[in-house]
């Protein structure tokens, strides 16, 4: 039986082959199995795309048409205890724009084997959350006479996140250079080594509030959730790179919803998959139905240059070779003028230029030509 499947490898896509294997009744004779595979192969060949099919436009249509049916409501609580996420059309726009800073970054942190069973899950979650100096301090004050900023730490809070005074001091020292830092009991006093005025001191006071003490930077909220038979941590705020450094974290399954971050940390291939997944999530969440192939083509177009390009005039559209195609989208004058300076040539290879010139477009039935001898 194995060799039978082997002979169909490459003829039928692996995903279909897997499905046949899965659904094939266990006691089936070889002849019938072959018949089944042959039939699958046949139906598959019948279902292949025709050359010239304008697949890009169909993808755009499918996504664009469904987009009109989405809600504009930005926020949505998926469950009572879930987190606040951007959904619907705004999220779709955000993904396709390829924005660097998205409005609600989120991570789904999967935990490595011993930690994912739920023991101490709260502790682990809290250790991931970022703590800033202001989170563990009870008071910030300025000693005007000595030009010192004093921070009184709340011991309870310090202990709650599992660190001690020395570590806090270290963190503060790391963040501030050229400062004299002293600790006494639970007070940290910071004095500038330069001769700064009072104004500088006030600025310093605001600055030190944001000093990173522990946890993963930018993660400002954590939520342990049960998924299947294990616990995962959902975070608001995202920092994949720092999360991977953590020993609890299973780096293989942990993801973020920030596509650009995925691209930076895991590379462009991962980003492509991430775009597909994120778009799919939006579509699914809205109760709509779009085939994955369409999302793939959008994602491939966005990632094709090696870095993420948004579907905007600065991104994907700017990479077109044709002047007229770019001009027909946005800022036509700019494109025409810069084309004039180098004597740019438009080869009229794509669709709009030919529409402009009333010529057959080179897709679909416009693609093939017919050559025939005319009898004289």
């Amino acid at each position: 039986m194995e060799d039978l499947f082997k002979s169909y490898e490459g003829k039928i896509p692996d995903s279909l082959l897997e499905k046949v294997k899965e659904h094939l009744p266990p006691k089936i004779d070889r002849k019938k199995a072959e018949e089944i595979l042959e039939r699958v192969y046949q139906e598959f060949t019948n279902a292949c795309v025709d050359p010239g099919e304008s697949v890009g436009l169909i993808a755009a249509e499918s996504i664009g048409e469904q987009g009109t049916q989405m809600t504009l409501n930005t926020f949505h609580y998926a469950g009572v205890a879930e987190m606040n996420v951007t959904v619907g059309l705004p999220r779709l726009i955000e993904i396709l724009d390829g924005r660097k800073n998205i409005s609600t970054p989120m991570m789904e942190i999967y935990l490595a084997a011993p930690y994912n069973k739920g023991k101490d899950i709260k502790q682990i979650a809290l250790s991931i959350k970022e703590n800033k100096l202001k989170d563990i301090a009870s008071e910030f004050s300025i000693n005007v006479a000595e030009l010192i900023v004093e921070v009184a730490l709340d011991e309870q809070k310090v202990n709650a996140i599992g660190i001690d005074m020395a570590k806090v001091k270290k963190a503060v020292e790391k963040a501030l250079k050229d400062f004299n830092i002293k600790t006494k009991d639970n007070i940290i006093s910071i004095r500038s080594s330069k001769d700064d005025g009072l104004n500088e001191l006030y600025k310093l006071k605001e600055k030190i509030k944001e000093i990173h003490i522990s946890g993963i930077k930018d993660v400002y909220q954590v939520l342990p959730v049960r998924r299947g038979d294990e616990f995962i941590i959902i975070t608001a705020g995202s920092n994949l790179k720092a999360a991977f450094d953590n020993e609890y974290v299973d780096p293989i399954r942990t993801t973020t919803n920030n596509v650009c971050e995925v691209s930076d940390v895991l590379g462009i291939e991962a980003a492509r998959q991430s775009i597909i997944n994120e778009v799919f999530k939006v579509i699914e969440n809205q109760g709509l139905n779009i085939d994955k192939r369409h999302m793939m083509i959008v994602a491939d177009m966005m990632c094709n240059s090696g870095s993420i390009k948004g579907v905007t005039r600065y991104g994907v559209v700017s990479q077109k070779a044709s002047v007229l195609a770019k001009a027909s989208f946005e800022t036509p004058i700019k494109h025409i003028i810069s084309a004039a300076l180098v004597g740019e040539e438009d080869k009229l290879n794509s669709v709009v230029e030919n529409v402009m010139l009333n010529q057959a477009v080179p897709v679909g039935t416009g693609l093939p030509g017919l050559i025939t001898k005319i009898k004289k």
């Binding site: 099919e53 909220q221 954590v222 579907v311 003028i337």
Partner: protein, 862 residues
């Protein structure tokens, strides 16, 4: 005729377009007249020689002849002219480039401010990038690498002279060390820049010289692109461009005169600035620092830039969008008795729109009959086209003559007839299914008729919608429309691989009633089936009362097997073309889900499926006609005990909420992680109330045992969801805004009839009553709030999603599958090695894949 055919079909094809900058020399060379006077017409109203409307620039008056090409109005495309500018002026669109050129070249020797070795290296680099034919990369390289080093140099590496700062005073003045540089000086400096250095600025000496960016001559666009309109009063109203050009010529002449008369420098400079202003606004009248040039009425002039850009501009409005003849538009109305792929066309329309038919030996007599009937009686003909392309109108007087003239090679434009091909469309055309090919059915009355089952892909309804009809005029167009765009071929969506067309509304309700419990008397069943169009009644069982399932089964092919589920998850079994168990509802007949439809499509093809849908629709409608179907207020009546139960549930949840509120005030509430106590309270209240509403829905469902019209509609899925039923009978529920309860309004309360700080359900938009019971004033108002909110949502969403769509379409429009199965863009860059990773076409798949389970069941079960 054979000779004509040959000459007629020699196509000229534009292979490529090259963009470039006009040199003063070319401007003069391509000009056919020099414009010297701002006057337009003489006393007789005849265009002045050397004026802006000179007949050498083209003609826009009937009767006049173009003095350049000798042709008349509409034949002459127009010719450019030019004016010699008294003093050079800056071209606004190149202001920034000129600054870069000035900054990066030596003010003394004109060489680029780069050491020789480096310059050579960059030139090689740029040449290399250019070879890849990537202008964008080249521009980026120039901007980020080369220019960075050349700008802000203080000393020329070649002649060692000192360089000064050059600033722009917007829009068109340059300052060198606070001293103004005149365009003449600028031009002389730009002239000094060598051809070899130009690539460093991202320019190409073959197409531009830097000094061309400072204008010395100005091309005058042909009259034909700025035609004047004659008003009823006989007065002429000139185009905006002509006005602007008039200004330019006038000031230019004044400047000439003043220079020749040796006027003081101040006057000349003022005029010069004015000339600069006019030329600038001629190119672009929307520059931030300049007051726009206006009409006397105060309305800004539309000059060249405004003509090109934006949605109403030349590019998007006239070039990328075209207009068409042979089309028509009117209101649509439903007609379930015509086929899915038919469109009912009013007779008036059918007599206006025509199909060209070539006369041959064999159809000569046939076509002559059309001409004989003329344009006024149907089916007639409106025009006859002679082989030389002359079009002749068929009139009562001309008829005889034309009839005698007609011979093979002529073309007759005859009226539309049944079976002709048309393309039917409804805006917004978001889909390829928004434009489908239908067969024409000429019908009385004045609306387009379409089968209600095809409303779904068009997203049409009949509340006044209008649709467009196009008649393809060539054999190729008709063939393509028929093969690729027919309704049958569009049954399966290319978006998700399922049926987009299915039975709707009565079509579903009727089949639901029929297959659920109805028994039809034999004669009724037969007359219904005959009306539906089923001819083969041999499948009907004997006996006087025929079960509904048997009636439905006559539509199914005799060898059709199917096992699935209906909407209520009950098994549907079809064996050998007989519906054995299960009910026909949306799950199997409707669009989107329509699993049975999908299987029929796979097995018997699109033609059969389209026919099946149409027949099933008709069957449902006839059953409803026979059986009667109506809804009334009673439909949602609940027995008193149900009402009681609902009230109990609601009371209980109100109490629960009270407890929560109490806990909140006492600060006993356990907060959710990362939420404040108030937020937690809101979430908990929302949860409790939603649960209560769902429970009332369940009760409504439990007690609605009687199959009334409303309930049939909701059960069969033909209209309305269970939620709508629950809202009518049980309880409307929480009105949500922005994912929470309504909280805005007055200070600490939503309405003045509530106490401040009141947190109870009623005070925050929970509607306890059902629609049938009626809403209290405050409930009604809350409902109005969410209603308005969702109205706004739709209004704001449409343009947003429209823009997203436009961007997507623009980015992806030239991706296509090549013959080697890769997906590539216009410049043949590979985007995907195999479309969708497996090369499957969604519209030929079953929800994106091949239904392996079905195949196994079919073969293994044999």
């Amino acid at each position: 005729m054979p000779d004509d055919a040959q000459t007629q079909y020699v196509y000229k094809k534009v292979k490529s377009l090259v963009f470039g900058v006009l040199s003063p020399k070319t401007v003069k060379k391509m000009a056919s007249a020099k414009v010297v006077t701002p006057e337009l017409y003489d006393k007789e109203g005849y265009p002045v020689d050397g004026g802006l409307m000179d007949t050498r620039l083209g003609v826009i008056d009937p009767g006049l002849k173009c003095r350049t090409c000798g042709s008349k109005l509409k034949e002459c495309v127009g010719h450019f002219g030019y004016i010699e500018l008294a003093r050079p002026v800056i071209h606004v669109k190149y202001v920034n480039l000129i600054q870069v050129l000035l900054k990066a070249s030596c003010r003394e020797c004109g060489k680029v401010l780069l050491p020789k070795a480096k310059k050579e290296k960059y030139l090689v680099d740029i040449e290399k990038i250019k070879k890849e034919k990537s202008y964008d990369k080249m521009r980026a390289f120039v901007k980020s690498v080369v220019l960075k080093e050349m700008l802000d140099q203080t000393k020329c590496p070649h002649c060692k002279s000192r360089q000064h700062k050059i600033a722009i005073e917007k829009p068109t003045t340059y300052l060198e060390n606070e001293k103004r540089l005149s365009p003449i000086e600028i031009r002389t400096r730009l002239e000094k820049i060598g051809d070899d250095d130009l690539p460093l600025f991202g320019m190409d000496a073959q197409f531009v010289r830097p000094e061309w960016l400072v204008l010395t001559v100005l091309p005058i666009p042909p009259v034909t692109m700025r035609p004047s309109i004659t008003l009823e009063s006989g007065e002429r109203s000139e185009d905006d461009l002509t006005h602007k050009l008039g200004d330019i010529v006038r000031i230019n002449q004044r400047l000439f005169e003043n220079i020749n008369a040796g006027a003081p420098e101040i006057i000349i400079e003022d005029l010069w600035d004015l000339l600069q202003y006019h030329v600038t606004t001629f190119f672009d009248n929307d520059i931030a620092q300049l007051p726009p040039a206006r009409h006397r009425s105060g309305q800004p002039l539309k000059t060249i830039t405004e003509r090109i850009k934006s949605k109403e501009g030349r590019i998007r409005h006239n070039l990328a969008g075209k207009r068409t003849n042979f089309s028509s538009r009117t209101v649509i109305s439903p007609d379930p008795m015509i086929g899915l792929n038919e469109v009912g066309v009013p007779k008036i329309v059918a007599m206006k729109l025509t199909v060209p038919e070539m006369v041959t030996e064999w159809n000569k007599e046939h076509l002559k009959k059309f001409v004989e009937r003329g344009p006024k009686s149907y089916p007639g003909a409106n025009y006859v086209i002679r082989p030389d392309g002359k079009k002749k109108r068929v009139t009562d007087e001309m008829k005889e003559q034309i009839l005698e003239e007609i011979q093979p090679g002529y073309t007759v434009e005859r009226h539309l007839m049944d079976g002709d091909i048309a393309i039917f469309n409804r805006q917004p055309s978001l889909h390829k299914m928004s434009m489908m090919c239908h067969e024409i059915r000429v019908l009385p009355a004045k609306t387009f008729r379409l089968n209600p089952a095809v409303c779904a892909p068009y997203n049409a309804d009949f509340d006044g919608d209008e649709m467009n009809l196009h008649i393809p005029q060539t054999e190729e167009a008709r063939a393509e429309a028929e093969v690729l765009m027919k309704v049958q071929t569009q049954l399966i969506s290319s978006g998700f691989g399922l049926s987009v067309i299915g039975c709707i509304q009565d079509g579903i309700s009727g089949n639901y009633i029929l297959t659920k419990h109805l028994n039809l008397p034999r004669d009724t069943a037969i007359s219904i089936l005959m009306a539906v169009g089923v001819q083969d009644l041999s499948g009907l069982p004997k006996g006087d009362a025929i079960p509904g399932k048997e009636v439905f089964s006559t539509l199914l092919p005799a060898d059709f097997d199917f096992a699935g589920r209906d909407k209520s998850r009950q098994d549907v079994v079809v064996k050998k073309g007989k519906l054995l168990s299960g009910i026909m509802d949306t799950a199997n007949l409707g669009k989107g889900s329509g699993i049975m439809l999908r299987e029929i499509h796979k097995k018997y093809g699109p033609e059969f499926t389209a026919d099946f849908i149409a027949k099933a629709m008709k069957l449902g409608i006839y059953v409803i006609m026979y059986n009667g179907f109506s809804t009334s207020i009673e439909d949602t009546d609940l027995p008193p005990e149900a009402r009681k139960k609902i009230n109990e549930i609601l009371d209980e949840s109100y109490k629960k909420v009270d407890v929560l509120i109490d806990m909140f005030h006492k600060k006993d509430l356990e907060t959710f992680p990362g939420k404040t106590m108030a937020e937690t309270l809101e979430l908990k209240i929302l949860e409790a109330l939603n649960k209560a509403r769902n429970m009332t829905g369940d009760i409504v469902d439990q007690y609605s045992t009687k199959e009334t019209g409303t309930i049939i509609m909701s059960r069969s899925g033909s209209r309305g969801k269970p939620l709508n039923l629950a809202q009518m009978a049980g309880c409307v529920g929480q009105q949500a805004m922005r994912g929470g309860r309504i909280s805005s309004g007055y200070k600490n309360r939503t309405m003045s009839c509530f106490k401040q700080g009141d947190l109870t359900p009623a005070a925050h938009g929970f509607i306890r009553n059902s629609f049938k019971q009626g809403l209290t004033p405050s409930e009604f108002f809350f409902m109005g709030m969410t209603g308005r909110d969702s109205l706004m949502d739709t209004a704001l969403r449409t343009p947003k999603s429209g823009y997203l769509y436009r961007r997507l379409a623009n980015a992806l429009q030239d991706l296509k599958v090549e013959y080697d199965n890769t997906v590539r863009d216009a410049s043949k860059k590979i985007v995907q090695f195999k479309y969708g990773e497996d090369g499957m076409d969604v519209s030929k798949s079953e929800k994106g894949t091949i239904n392996v389970k079905r195949i196994i069941a079919e073969i293994a079960g044999k």
